[in-house]
Structure formats: C-alpha cells, structure tokens
Amino acid sequence: MQTITLRFAISAMLAAIGVAGLVIALDYDFGTARQMGPGYFPVILSILLTLLAVSEMIGAFLKPEAQTIDWRPMIAILAAVLGFGICMRFFGMIPAFFAVIGLSVLSEKGYGFVPAAVLATVTCAFAWLLFSRLLGMPLPLIRWDF
C-alpha cells in the first residue's frame, strides 16, 4: 500500500509552510490586540494554516487515494517558463521565445521541428510589435549580458 500519496505530501508541505511562517513571524513585533504589530496577523495565519494542514494530513493518511501526475507536460511547460526567464535575462527576446516554445512542445512526442520554429517566429514577431513597438517597452531582441 502506498502510504505517501500526493495529497499527503501537499498537506505536509502546507504544514511546513505554516511552521516556517510562524517561526519567521515570531521575530516581528506582535503588538497588542489594540495596536496590532506587523507580526500579529502572520502569527495567527501561520497557526491556522498549520492546524488546517495537519488535519488534512490526517485525512490523507487515513484514506490514501492514488493520484496521477502527467510528468512529461508538467516538466516541459515549467522548463519552458524557466527557460524564458533565463534567456530573457541573459540573451534577449528572440532566444527567449525560441526557448519557451521549443521547450513547451516537448510536452508531446514527435511534435516536429518545423511547426515549433514557425510558432516561435510568429509569436516573437507579434510580441515584439505589440510590446516593443506599440507600447515602447525596453525589450532587447538580442543581447549578451552576464
């Protein structure tokens, strides 16, 4: 029997966020009920989050249900967004668009190089026209900036 289901893992993660949030928020000034400090709200929220997450963890533990994750599209799409960010930072807009389209088409088998390249070119040209030409945003097409 699979005990660590995705549902359990997610609730454990939320509990961890709650505990971490509480530990950090304890450093902020709590204040009083009359004059709440910056720590008041976060402390209460963190405690609530932790309690709710623990009850969800128990629920998930008692009734484990298998969940499916489509790993391939998930990794491809996330890599595409990440690739866009990295290329935008270092190489400019044209590489960024080829990166995001090139990586996201890896979600499916046998997508083909030509349609991907056409999509990247068209989307990049459209975005350049709209954001750079029409709206005047500073978006370098190509750069080399480390």
């Binding site: 997610i10 939320l14 902020y28 009920a33 709440m36 976060p42 998930m74 967004v81 960010g85 997508y111």
Partner: protein, 505 residues
C-alpha cells in the same frame, strides 16, 4: 438616472472606447471558447497593455474579456462536451445531448439569446442597485469592511462545494501570501527574505498566471487530442422551433434573477449561479427525464444566470471595493494601478468611469450577440484548430505578460514556482480561486481589522456587539458551520453528478 446614462453614453460611444470594447469581447469569446483557459488568464495577460490606456478604456476592455468569456464558454460545452469556462460546465449536461441530436445550432442560438437576456438583466440590476449600495457603503466602518470581507472568503470556500478544509487552507495560504512585502502600518518588511523584488509584495499577475494559467495549460495538454466536431452549424440550423422558444422564456427569466442576485454577493459567482439556475429548472420541471437528454431549459437557464452574475459581480467590486471573485480582484487591481480606489466614492467622484462602464456593457452585449449568432462559424473553426498549435503560444504569452508587468525576471521565476504548486494542488482537488481571493483581500482585511480593533480599544467583544459587524460575522460563522456539518451534502452530491470542475468561483 437618464442624465447619468447620457454621461455614460458620451464616454462609451467614443471611437476609442467602442474599438476597445469590441476588442475585449472578441478576445473574451476567443479565450472562453478555448477549453482550459479562462478569462482570468486573458485579463492578466492584457493587464500590462491596459497601463497605456485611459483608465475607463482599460476597464471597458478588461470587463469585455470577462463577460465575453461567459458567452464563449458555452460553445465548447455544446460542441465538444468540454466546458470552455468553469461556469459553462453545467451547460454540457443538456447542450451536448442537443448537439448529438443534431440540434447544436438551436442550442447555440438559445445560448446566445439567454446570455444576452441574462447580461441585460444584470446590467439593469447594476444600474438600479449599484448607486444605492454605494450610498449604504458610505456609512460602513472598518469593522463592517472586515466582516464583509470575511463573509466573502467564507462564502467562496463553503458555497463552492468540495472539501471545506481544502478551501480554508487555500484562503489562509492566500492571506499569508498577501502579507509578504512592506507592512503598511509599521513599514517593516515581512517574508521578503532579503529580495528587493518582494518588498512590493508578490506580483498578483505572477501568482494568477502561475496558479491558473500555467497549471491549466499543463492539465489541458493530455486530453487535447480527442476533440472532434461532427456537426455543421449553419444559420438555418440555428432557428429554434416555436415550442423551443416557448419553453425558454420562463427559464431565462428565472435564471437571470437567480444569477443577478448571486453575482452581487461576494464569493458566490458565476459557477454557482449557473448551477443553482439549472437545479431550479430541474426541480420545477414536470417531466424530469428530459433533463440530461437535451432539454432547452437546461441550456437557457444556466446561461442566463452566469451572464447575469458576470454583470452584477461588478456591484460589490465597484461600489464597496470588495471583489467577489479572482477575476474581479484583478479588475480591482487594474483600477488601483490607475490610482482609482473602488469604493462608495467611485460612483459620485468618477461618474464617467462608473456610467461609462455600464453603457459599455450594453454595447458589449450587443457586439456579443452579433459575434455569437451570425458569426458563430468563426468560433466553430477556432475549436477545430488543433490545440497543439495553441498551447505553446499561450505559454509564451503568459511568460511575456508576467515579465512585462514589472520588467522582472524574478516574477517569471515566481510564476514557475506557483505553476508547480498550482498544478500539483489542482490534481489533489484544491481550487485556486479562494487562494487568489485571499491574496487580494488579505492586506485590506488586515488593515481594516487593525483599524477596527484600535477603535474598539482592543476589545473584540465591542466589535462583535456592533449590530452590523456582529450580524455579518454571525452570518459567516453560520455559513461555515452549515458547510462543515453537511448542510451542503445534498448540493455537493448533485454537483458531483454534474462533474463540475473546481475553478473560478
């Protein structure tokens, strides 16, 4: 009233506003037609563009996307049996059987008409009740605001169905995310981890795009291959019989009223409006076996309801400044970026925005009628376009949208993180709507609570003993208790039968 409408007409009928209104409803329908992408993602994508527009024009365009999406969503429901937007899910129940019986055209025609009727009723309600509610809103104190926002959050969790614990978790997580950044009262940085970018808080666009846009694209790729449309939709096939027409009048009227009422409540929204309208028709019907087998009432009522709700959703957003749904919260954000604070003063201080927007709703609904009846062929073709060419472009546009908001690579990174969690959480049945709502309402909730407690000299019982604040808080509590102890079991059971996806509330 007439005077106000004229002011609005003078604003809405300028060439620029007409163009952007059309652009908005066109994009909205387009996005609504495509399954897996909602109006929220589209609005977030176009938000950066709206900075370059006059605030009224920007709002007209963004609002057009929103209610346009409600029209478009049902097209996919009818032709593909896949809802284009969450609120059109219920339309699948009878819309899809109608298509299988070769009556897709009639279903589409009735949908368009019902949507138009619902939208019009919603606009009338907005005109009639909006200013009145704004006047009441003027007397609200911070305690009342706090209580109202809390009620909205509780309603978003409980009325939406599904697990209450999961919904509350998302609300609290959203509230916590909302505290990231500079504390308004003390100026202290909270949860910034030394990042300069986080001092202004987490970017709403990065969060919304990650958790809705990216997560939804990932989950829509798998089943994209099996979409096929067999029916041909011609103008002639759209004409309903006289019996069809007679059957839809009542459902349209009831659906519009239900939707108009629910849309104005914070936290309820279009999905619930459509669902309840359908449930009402089902209960009223003499011959229940027709439902689920292509009953025209089952198409007309929910479509009238979700469009009425889409219009009245603007009532709390514009007149009190409390958004009822994630999409409305983005709209609120757009207004604030332009330096306009939505609230009771908006109607009196910015009449051109308020009335201009209302008149643009009329125009937009007329545009949509044209787009959905004579030009229906466009959307059928959009649906036939292979999805494999659509999603890479959508992801690229999401990226550039997130980036251009603040010219920030950091935000793109945040979108990756939120996208990961968003997708995984969606797979286990968490819905993202309460999270976004919590995130947007969080800072306002905290500020009003602090002010209210200061006024009450730190005594919480004073806050509760105030008649208005106390009764709203009691309502929230009641709703929560009702939800936890199975009062909604019946509702949820029926929802499960309808296979409603968790999503935009």
């Amino acid at each position: 009233m007439l005077e106000n409408i004229l002011v609005g007409a003078a604003t809405a009928f300028t060439f620029q506003n007409l163009i952007y209104c059309f652009f908005g409803v066109f994009v909205g329908t387009f996005i609504g037609v495509l399954p897996g992408l909602g109006s929220l993602a589209a609005i977030s994508m176009l938000l950066p563009i709206s900075f370059y527009l006059d605030p009224t024009t920007a709002l007209i365009m963004l609002a057009g996307i929103y209610y346009g999406g409600e029209y478009g969503g049902s097209i996919a429901s009818i032709l593909l049996n896949i809802p284009g937007t969450p609120s059109a899910a219920i339309t699948c129940l009878d819309g899809s059987p109608m298509a299988r019986q070769g009556r897709a055209g009639v279903a589409l025609f009735i949908t368009a008409i019902a949507s138009f009727v619902g939208g019009s009723v919603g606009v009338v309600a907005l005109m009639g009740f909006g200013p009145a509610i704004a006047r009441i809103g003027l007397s609200f104190g911070p305690g009342d605001y706090f209580a109202l926002m809390l009620l909205g959050l509780v309603a978003a969790v409980t009325v939406g169905g599904g697990s209450v614990v999961k919904g509350l978790l998302m609300v609290v997580l959203g509230l916590l995310l909302g505290t990231v950044g500079t504390d308004v009262t003390s100026g202290e940085f909270r949860y910034t981890f030394g990042y300069l970018e986080l001092r202004d808080g987490v970017s709403l666009v990065a969060l919304a795009m990650g958790i809705f846009g990216i997560a939804e694209v990932i989950s829509s790729i798998k089943d994209a291959g099996q979409r096929k449309i067999r029916e041909k939709v011609t103008m002639r096939s759209m004409l309903p019989t006289r019996a069809d027409m007679a059957r839809t009048v009542g459902p349209m009227a009831r659906g519009s009223s239900i939707g108009g009422f629910l849309g104005a409540l914070p936290g309820a929204g279009t999905v619930i409006a459509a669902f309840l309208a359908y449930a009402t028709e089902f209960r009223l019907a003499r011959d229940k076996s027709r439902f689920g087998n292509g009953a025209v009432e089952g198409v007309a009522a929910p479509e009238a309801a979700n469009n009425a709700a889409a219009q009245t959703a603007f009532i709390p957003t514009l007149t009190i400044g409390i958004p009822g749904s994630p999409t409305m919260s983005i709209m609120l954000g757009a207004l604030m970026i332009h330096g306009i604070t939505p609230g009771p003063l908006l109607v009196s201080e910015h009449p051109t925005i308020f009335w201009g927007l209302i008149v643009s709703f009329w125009i937009g609904n007329l545009f949509l009628l044209v787009l959905n009846i004579p030009l229906i062929g466009i959307w059928v073709r959009v649906l036939q376009f292979p999805y494999k060419y659509v999603y890479p472009v959508v992801i690229a546009l999401i990226c550039i949208g997130v980036f251009s908001m603040r010219n920030s690579v950091f935000d793109v990174g945040l979108a990756v993180i939120f996208g990961t969690f968003g997708y995984l959480m969606q797979q286990v049945g968490y819905s993202a709507a309460p999270l976004i709502l919590g995130f947007v309402l969080g800072p306002m909730l905290e500020e009003n609570l602090r002010r209210a407690m200061l006024l009450a000299r730190g005594d919480a019982t004073r806050l509760i003993s105030d008649p208005l604040t106390g009764s709203i808080l009691a309502m929230s509590l009641l709703l929560l208790v009702w939800a936890v102890f199975g009062g909604l079991l019946n509702l949820m059971r029926t929802r499960a039968r309808a296979k409603l996806p968790p999503g935009e509330a």
